[in-house]
Structure formats: C-alpha cells, structure tokens
Amino acid sequence: MRPRRGLAHTHVGSLHAPDAELALRNARDLYTRRQEGVSIWVVPAASIVASSPDEKDAFFDPAADKVYRHPTFYEVPEGAGHI
C-alpha cells in the first residue's frame, strides 16, 4: 500500500482471493476502509522469495563491520561547510 503520494509502498497485510482481480478488490475493501492508501499492489504469496532465518548470519552479519559506509565514520574538520 502507498499511504500517500511521495511515500513508498509498505506491506499492510494478507488476504485470500480466487484470482488477481478479486485480490486487488479485496485488498481495497479490507485495507482502505479508512482512507489508508492511494495505491495498492497485490502479490501471490507463492511468488515471494524470502531469505530464511537460517541464512540470517550469512546474509546480514557481513555488513556489520563496514562502518565506513556510514557518514558518521568520518571526521569533518571544524569550519568545513556543506559537507
């Protein structure tokens, strides 16, 4: 669901439907009763490829020691503007 223009779609929930057209309508009826969105995507659960918790360490830990990817790693000399 895209909550408002300018924001990215975020996951809001799951639903059942016999086909794609009805899935979109069901999503509209179920998840936008209070004007929660301006755009909806639906994806069959079977089409989602997900990382597994077993792979968590191998997938995500290697990024942990690359502090130089974050701007806070760097010292900015006193007085330097616009950086």
Partner: protein
Amino acid sequence: MYGNDFAATGDAGVPASDVAATSAGRTLLEQVEDAERELRSASERSVVGDDRLQDYFDAVINADQKIEPRDWMPDPYRLGLIRQIAQHAHSEIIGMQPEGNWISRAPSLKRKAILLAKVQDEAGHGLYLYAAAETLGVSRSDLVDQLLTGRQKYSSIFNYPTLTWADVGTIGWLVDGAAIVNQVPLCRCSYGPYARAMIRICKEESFHQRQGFEILHTLAHGTPAQRAMAQDAVNRWWYPSLAMFGPPDTASTHSEQSMTWKIKRFSNDELRQRFVDMCVQQATVLGLSLPDPDLRWNAERDHYDFTQPDFHELMRVISGDGPCNRQRLEHRRRAHEEGAWVREAAAAYAAKRAAREPAGV
C-alpha cells in the same frame, strides 16, 4: 472484539505487575500507541543469544523483541498461539451476528450507517486475525472447519441475544469495553503478526465503544420508555461482560507459560477489576445503575468491590447451553454452505483463466 471466556480451562493468572500502575494515566488508545512505539523501538535492540534455537528464542522473548513467522519456535508456543488467534478470529466473525441483528431496524439512518460500518469492521478484524494465524502454518479453511464443527470456541458473550436496540449500545459500551481491556495488552504480545494485527484492530475499534456509549447516553436521556430500555439492557449485559475476562485466577490452569512467553500479560482478575473501576464512573455519566448492590469503593484496596459473575453460568454457556449457541453456529454453517457454490464458481473461473493464459502473464 474478544474476551477470554471460551475455554473451560481458563487462562488465568499468575500474579503480575499492577495493571493500573503499568498504564498509569494512559488512555486505552494511548496504550495502543505506546505498544506500537515499543514494537518499533524493540526492533532496534539487538539480541544476544547463541546459535541454539531454544536459546535464541528465549533471548528474543527476554529482550522484548518479536518472534516472526519463519523463526524457530517451540511447538507449544506455536500451537497455543494458533488456538488463541483462531478463537479470537472466530469471536470477531460470530460477534457480527448479535449486532447485525439490528442493522435492518436501526432507528435512524445515521445509526444504521454507524452500525453497519461497525459490524463490517468485525469482519475485517476476523480477516486480519485469520491471516495472522495462517503465518503459523495453518489454513483458514481448517480453522473455519474447526469452528463449524465446534472444536474451537469463540467468545461466550455472543451466545446472549440482542433483544432491544439498547442492547446494541450496551454491547458497544460494556462488551467492546471489556474486549478493549483484554485486547490492549495483546498489542504487546511477543508474536509479531498477532501484535501488529492487534494494534490495527484496537485503533479501528476505538470508535466502537464510543458509539455504544453515545447510543446509551441518548437513550438514558430520552423518553421514559427509552430510559427503561437502556437500564434493562445494562442489567442483562453487566454480568456476562464481567464473565468475558474468564474464570477467576484461583481456577487458573495453564497461563504461567503464556505469561513467560509474553503472549498474555495480565491475569483475568486484574483485568476484570480494571474494567469494573472504569465502568462505575462511566455509568454515573450515563445516569444508569449497574445491577450490583454490593458495588462500592474500597479505599484500602484503591479499587471497587463488586460481585463476581456467575462462573457456573459461564461454564454452561461455554459448554454449549447458552441462549444462542445453537443459533449462532447454525447461522454460520448455513452461510458457509449456501456460499459454497459461489466459492466453487470463483475457483472454477480462476482455473479456466489460468489455463487460457500462458504462464507468466
């Protein structure tokens, strides 16, 4: 909406921290928002645990983090959650009936619209909850089957009839009120999908109790006949509402584990007391009396003393002998059976179309 009144063996309590102290000065909706903030901030804490699955699970729970669908979890945790979430979902769906009974006869078009929107919300909440249960590896059709065959229960409160329009107001005030007291702590439940569904549900339900209160307030300040209708409804619904919190803590069986796993956070009696304390003041504003001659403030306890509901009656209703048990289930079964040809048609059409269209389109 939902209570804790479906199982003959109650989830009741180990002593827990004082409910009022934990939530000091926060309205129920603020507590829901607190839970949502906490869910976000907990996600930023890191979990230190070793690689053994049970230890990692325990570490996540202890860090007040959320367990997510593909995480390892002990079987009893999974099965207990499936049962609880399913019964909660069934309660939303069966709960549509007593109030739905008045949609066609609502006394003004405004009230008709509000009531229809409310009952529709219950269907939506049932769907959110079935979806949360499905993340634990069960299918909705299995759960519905368990409901229809009586193997899983729903909140017993819905086995009472709605005899007058004032019952709609009273359900909003007392039954939704009790449900909210029960549900707000579930927003902090350790299972992520359930906690997120509860946050969404509690936010949406915040109007439900208010509309009930407004109906009753209008009736209580209306004609003598309206006022009598309101008082009669409160008299009939008060004790069944208290029973929604389940059996007393002394009859507790298997809730200690539920507390440790942070699924349940307060005992039945704590929540019931909290509900009574809230209602007394609200009844005064309504100008209606609660049907309990022994209801009085106890300064020592800092709570109201009150008469407990008839737990034998609760057990009778749970076991199937309430005024409407048969009617509610028959209604649900009939809707399910009469809709079968429609569901079959939709499935057949989807299959035909899939066969006509090349894969990947």
